[in-house]
């Protein structure tokens, strides 16, 4: 038998390439269309607008090149907002990110009534986020709030909470410590449960204690989900708006004004959409860079 005809081979490959499976395309089309319309189009339009002194009545206005970028980059107010944003990021990272991981590790060792505990962890997530924040805001009231009332029983306080410039950021992050990790916990729990029990049992037989099993077996095996969660967490925190707006509107004295808030205020209170778009672009680049960096570090460890 001789070699196959090379020309005929090329024809077969071409036909195969054209053999499109329409069903997946059909299913993917709505989501791709939504992404293009509601994610990529606004993103490209934002970049476009950021180069104009935008006129809302007669868009897009006057082309100003990079002057919107230079204007906000030379603004102390902007850098204060950037600083606040990263302080929030550090606080959320230090106080909340690890909690569902620990909860999932503990939950995975609970045999009795495990489903009940999983349900209980999910329960707070059904409270609308804004409603939860409003309850906390009421609890923080220095005159009539519950928190100071409870704390005085253990000899603490009274604290001014949202009235104390040194405490406001912490007061905003604190509610997230106690609630809101339900879905993350389930993801981590599922990942832990997917680790083969034989490996863990073998490690136990070989004398590995609980801490060692966690550090050397469980955490490395669920690292993929931690990385995914971290990327979502990072963009979520760096673009946080609702909870801070409801709690403090960016105050007092600008101590909780974050970049996303500055973007909204610049656009809708000052009608300066060009600079607002430029600031959004800045945050897009920062988050993109941090995500790439995170992926790179993670890949190197692998």
């Amino acid at each position: 038998m001789g070699d196959p005809d090379p020309i005929a081979g090329v024809e077969i490959i071409s036909i195969r390439k054209l053999n499109i499976r329409w069903m997946p395309v059909l299913f993917l089309f709505p989501s791709v269309l939504c992404y293009v319309l509601f994610k990529y189009y606004p993103l490209l339009n934002m970049i476009y607008v950021s180069f104009f002194r935008y006129s809302i009545v007669n868009p897009p206005g006057v082309f100003v090149g990079f002057s919107n970028y230079t204007e906000f980059l030379s603004s102390a107010t902007f850098w204060q907002a950037v600083s606040n944003t990263f302080v929030f990021f550090a606080l959320y990272l230090g106080l909340t990110f690890w909690i569902p991981i620990v909860q999932a590790l503990l939950l995975s060792d609970i045999r009795r009534a495990n489903a009940f505990f999983r349900f209980m962890y999910q329960l707070p997530t059904i409270v609308p986020a804004v409603a939860g924040i409003l309850v906390w805001k009421w609890m923080y009231n220095p005159d009539f709030g519950l928190l100071n009332y409870w704390l005085h029983f253990v000899g603490l306080g009274p604290y001014l909470w949202l009235n104390d410039l040194n405490m406001t950021k912490l007061a905003i992050v604190l509610p997230a410590v106690f609630a809101g990790n339900g879905i993350s916990l389930l993801l981590y729990y599922s990942a832990i449960k997917s680790v083969p029990t034989e490996i863990l049992e073998a490690a136990k037989v070989d004398g590995a204690g609980p801490w060692r099993r966690i550090w050397t077996m469980l955490l490395p095996n669920i690292r993929f989900i931690i990385v995914i969660q971290f990327v979502a967490f990072m963009s979520g925190v760096l673009l946080a708006y609702d909870n801070i707006y409801v709690m403090t509107q960016g105050g007092p004295a600008g101590s909780t004004t974050v970049v996303s808030m500055l973007v909204v205020n610049t656009a809708f209170q000052q009608s300066r959409f060009g600079i607002s778009g430029a600031m959004s672009m800045f945050m897009f680049i920062i988050i993109a860079l941090l995500t790439v960096l995170q992926n790179k570090i993670s890949a190197e460890k692998d």
């Binding site: 006129s55 809302i56 009545v57 220095p142 005159d143 105050g251 004295a253």
Partner: protein, 481 residues
């Protein structure tokens, strides 16, 4: 290709796409820019050239109904829980019967983020033909060309003489008119008569000047009972009421020159004195709530629940407070205590009907007819009658001068009526460039209210330096372009 190169290529692609899109649109942009003088330069237009886009000509009297059917969109549909929903809908029907050629599409606006909704509609080319816009946004919106120039419509409007001349102030730039006055209010000091009586305080003497008010507010404060003298506004709208104290001290927060340029006056004697008084109310007299950054709603709640003895309020707030359970006879209203300058100006506010500059002349005329009908004597008397029949305390300040309020306020406390009208004797519009300057002024106010060690002049100086660099320098530069 390594990761760094891939990353660079990705960003290069994004930026190239952006520049391409930008370049594609540039010819169109140039056309737009040329056809709309300074429409994208809010500052310049405001000071020197009223929005040149609003050049639609109207010459016929507004009262003349169009001969062909015209449909207009108005964002004034009442909310389901509004007390006057049925009344408003009946008035819509009256208008439709009177002007059968004007078909009105009433759109309901949600109660939150109204400004964002409106700006989004403008940006999307969906600006309503008539929209009720509050005073503070008029300056900025006129500069951007958002409201139509209705000077010709107004000048040919037969009933224009019945409107208070002062009601047009916030809608007039360089002699051109951009809004039909719809409502007005005046601010003053609202107090709880019973709490004053219980403390043995004579309101007339207590509300005379800053010192007497501070001492009275201190006396009205009783932490054991959870009551305090004065609900101070320290949240992110803090500059709203703070500016009154600056006026009382004889100054203003900004100065506008004849050539349109502006400069800050944050470190002027009047502003420093006003901020020092705020500090005294909190720390010297200890007469405010502990949570000085609580919302305006919370301040009102403290007042109608009997926790706060006084607060600054608008003359149109009575109805809301009574609906929350307050006894009207227990509410006192006075001009604000006089400051070091010996005067006590109040702020006048309200809203205007603004029209869509891009609407056809027919639609603009129909929208103008609509706006003037809903500020007509006929309509306002109907609202007063409705308020009287339903026990609602009416706003005592109207945009018209031909309303006889006496028959609608029978049984209302006479001193209240007289004091609201007295507060309107000396009124003031809000400070210039408020939309851009607000955060720069709120910051030192909050710093002083939250930290006893803060020196008012120091924080005002820092705020002024920052505002000069980030707002005034840019504003004045844009003006010269």
């Amino acid at each position: 290709m390594n990761r760094t190169t891939k990353l660079s290529a990705t960003f290069a692609l994004i930026m190239a796409a952006a520049v391409t899109v930008s370049a594609c649109g540039s010819s169109n942009n140039a056309e737009n820019a040329a056809s709309t003088t300074n429409a994208n330069e809010p500052v310049a237009t405001n000071a020197t050239e009223p929005a040149a886009t609003n050049d639609t000509t109207q010459t016929e009297p507004a009262q003349t109904a169009p001969e062909v059917d015209v449909e207009i969109t108005v964002w004034d549909k009442p909310h389901a829980d509004d007390l006057d929903k049925a009344f408003k809908e009946s008035q819509f029907a009256v208008f439709e019967a009177k002007y059968p050629h004007i078909k009105v599409k009433h759109v309901e606006q949600t109660k939150e983020k109204e400004r964002e909704q409106f700006m989004t509609a403008v940006a999307g080319g969906e600006q309503p033909d008539a929209y009720l816009n509050p005073y503070p946004d008029m300056e900025s919106y006129i500069a951007q060309g958002i409201p139509a120039d209705i000077t010709d419509l107004w000048n040919s409007f037969e009933d224009k003489a019945s409107y208070l001349p002062s009601s047009l102030n916030a809608a007039t730039v360089d002699g051109k008119i951009y809004g039909v006055p719809n409502s007005m209010y005046v601010t003053g000091l609202m107090y709880n008569k019973q709490m004053f009586a219980d403390a043995g305080i004579d309101p007339a003497a207590a509300l005379k000047d800053w010192d007497s008010f501070g001492a009275a507010a201190q006396k009205l404060t009783n932490p054991g009972k959870g009551t305090y003298g004065y609900a101070i506004l320290g949240m992110d709208w803090a500059d709203w009421f703070f500016e009154y104290y600056v006026w009382q001290a004889g100054g203003d927060l900004t100065e506008k020159a004849a050539d349109g340029t502006a400069k800050p006056a944050f470190t002027s004697d009047a502003v420093v004195k006003a901020l020092q008084y705020y500090k005294d109310l909190k720390f010297k007299y200890q007469a405010t709530q502990k949570n000085v950054v609580q919302s305006l709603d919370d301040n009102q709640k403290d007042f109608y629940t009997g926790h706060a003895a006084s607060m600054i309020a608008g003359s149109d707030w009575f109805g809301g407070l009574v609906s929350k359970g307050m006894d009207l006879n227990n509410i006192g209203f006075s001009a604000l205590p006089a400051g070091p300058s010996g005067i006590s100006p109040s702020q006048v506010g309200g809203n205007y009907w603004i029209l869509n500059p891009k609407a056809s002349p027919e639609k603009q005329k129909a929208a103008f007819t609509y706006a003037t009908y809903f500020t007509s004597k006929e309509y306002l008397e109907a609202t007063l009658q409705f308020a009287k029949e339903n026990g609602i305390f009416p706003n005592l300040l109207y945009v018209r001068s031909d309303l006889d309020l006496s028959k609608y306020i029978e049984g209302m406390p006479a001193d209240l009526v007289a004091n609201v009208q007295a507060a309107a004797n000396n009124t003031h519009l809000e400070y210039f460039l408020k939309a851009r300057l607000s955060p720069y002024i709120v910051k030192p106010i909050q710093q002083v209210l939250l930290d006893e060690k803060t020196d008012p002049l120091t924080v005002l100086k820092a705020a002024q330096d920052l505002a000069q660099k980030e707002v005034f320098d840019k504003y004045n530069a844009e003006l010269k372009k």
